[in-house]
Amino acid sequence: MKKSFLKSKGPSDQMSIQITSMADIFMILLVFLLKSYGSGLIEISTSKDLTMPQAVAESGSVDALKVEISEKVVLLEGKPVAEVRNFEFDGKSLAGAFAGERKRQQALAKTDSGVKADARVIMIADRNIPYSTIKSVLASAASNGYTDFKLAVVQTN
């Protein structure tokens, strides 16, 4: 049986890298990243010291009043409204903030018939916060007309 061996060419001075396959890989990577970039429908930015609990939950587009409870502060739409010390806070200032926000929503609803006062609240709380603190915040929200609670969690599904 004859075997033919081709003479290998010597090293050429002009070497060109084949980058077509690299472009293909980059294209696939970019498509994958852009897909996962658009899948986060709920925009929530939390403070550094806040760790949200994990749970199997549905993701969907929700736009509502955001209340953040960390071990140090209670934030309403990103603005600090009450300082937390030993998981206790000043209920009056939080109730005042909720009332102010509600009044603003109602005033908007009066001027524009297309806008309705929304009863939804997204609660973003640290996993180590005791239920008593959560209860106080929710009770304060409920007394000001915010009765539809959405609890934000990190999805595990």
Partner: protein, 159 residues
């Protein structure tokens, strides 16, 4: 530019070999763009996605909601000593205590008990969850997640 001028230019370019179909596409700038784009998207993408658990409240609110009254009301209380207290009231009245499993709550037994109730009263879709003050939010969420697999409408109670 006149037609004759254009034809003359075309001839000249053919003579120089510019009309050859054998050419290499310069992909280097495209690769550069892709690298920058991928780096930017990777930095700004949040890989941990946020989910939402619906939780109305079992009390409070401006208006009363008119709905069909369920045959039984189910309430799960998360206790500090890792026990659950399951209360059923309505057509059937009883209280079940689910003991702790080591240093944690026994979600497996809770699920079994809730499934038993669901089989007896299939029309019931909701349950109320309450917890004692010292129980951490994470534990409440875990219990809520467990209840939701049997009763999708879980409300927060004790406010």
């Amino acid at each position: 530019m006149s037609v004759s001028e254009f034809q003359a230019r075309l001839k000249a370019s053919s003579a120089n070999g510019f009309d050859s179909q054998d050419f290499d596409l310069n992909l280097a700038p495209i690769i550069d763009c892709f690298t920058v784009l991928i780096a930017f998207v990777m930095i700004s993408t949040a890989f941990a996605s946020i989910g939402i658990l619906d939780a109305g409240i079992a009390a409070g609110g401006d208006k009363a909601i008119s709905a069909a009254i369920p045959p039984v009301r189910i309430s799960v209380e998360v206790l500090a000593d890792h026990r659950f207290n399951l209360k059923i009231s309505g057509k059937e009245n009883r209280e079940i205590t689910i003991p702790a499993r080591g240093d944690s709550w026994d979600h497996g037994v809770l699920k079994i008990r809730l499934d038993e109730i669901k089989n007896r009263f299939p029309s019931v879709n909701g349950a109320v969850i309450t917890a004692v003050n010292s129980v951490k939010y994470d534990s409440v969420i875990r219990t809520m997640e467990q209840i939701r697999t049997t009763f999708p409408a879980v409300m927060l109670g004790g406010l």
